[in-house]
Amino acid sequence: MKQQKMKIISRRSVLFLMGGVASSALFTKFAMAKPNLALQRIKEISKSKVEEVDLFLDVPEIAENGNQVKVSFDIDSPMTKDDFVRTVYLLADGNPAPNVAKFSFTTDMGACSATTRMRLSKTQNVYLLAEYNNGKFAMTKSKVKVTIGGCGG
């Protein structure tokens, strides 16, 4: 008798789990339909004058912990008064807000690179947008797979 009771509960919980899976699948579909906020933001900043080039953006391919994802970049620039990178934006398209950080560079630095750690709530693209002193923009993106999300919860 006791066994039977347990069986019923387990069947119910299985049904419950299935419901959960279905609704979460629905939710991701819904999330996919949202506009890409990071790309919108890039358009706003650059006024659509952006070239997609191969800047060096170093992010892990798979991040086991979304709370601490190391991000570094290195942009090839002489960093002289006539030719330097003024601002670098870091954006992500799957986080609650697209902006991650904005770096302001000066010619005193001699090189254009930096390293920091960011949060990623789920698998998503990380974007790097560089603004040169002559008003040009360049961007690149890289996909990071996240095993455990790192945004609250």
């Binding site: 709370n67 601490q68 994802v69 570094s72 960093m79 992500a92 986080n95 609650p96 807000a97 902006n99 991650v100 950080a101 904005k102 770096f103 302001s104 560079f105 000066t106 005193d108 630095m109 001699g110 090189a111 690179s113 930096a114 390293t115 920091t116 750690r117 960011m118 949060r119 790192g150 945004c151 609250g152 919860g153």
Partner: protein, 108 residues
């Protein structure tokens, strides 16, 4: 909450025109405003929102931080050594507090 404590690593000595790397870390919770405490209540947003570095009084590097930056923000960046001087680091908290640190470097 643990005390907010800035840390930094700057080489004490550098050669002229050498590109050095400066590493900084500040112990700060970086509450994004989306995390919940043990009782399920929302923890209000409180982050470091600005980081500035000056060398001999002139700004050399700045960074605007958003809630997507991890707890205990780590920031590393390069600098071209030209003359001896002092670095002044400044972190600004959402509550208006500022945390500062200074480091000297000899260039020969």
């Amino acid at each position: 909450m643990s005390k907010i404590k800035p840390r930094g690593k700057v080489p004490k000595k550098a050669a002229i025109d050498e590109i050095i790397e400066i590493k900084t870390l500040i112990r700060h919770p970086m509450h994004s405003g989306r995390m919940k405490d043990k009782d399920g209540k929302n923890i209000p947003k409180r982050i470091i929102n600005k980081f500035l570095v000056k060398f001999n009084g002139k700004q050399i590097f700045g960074m605007d931080l958003e809630p997507s930056i991890s707890t205990n923000p780590y920031i590393a960046f390069p600098f071209k050594a030209k003359k001896s001087g002092t670095f002044d680091f400044e972190w600004t908290d959402d509550n208006g507090e500022k945390y500062t640190m200074s480091r000297k470097m000899d260039v020969s």
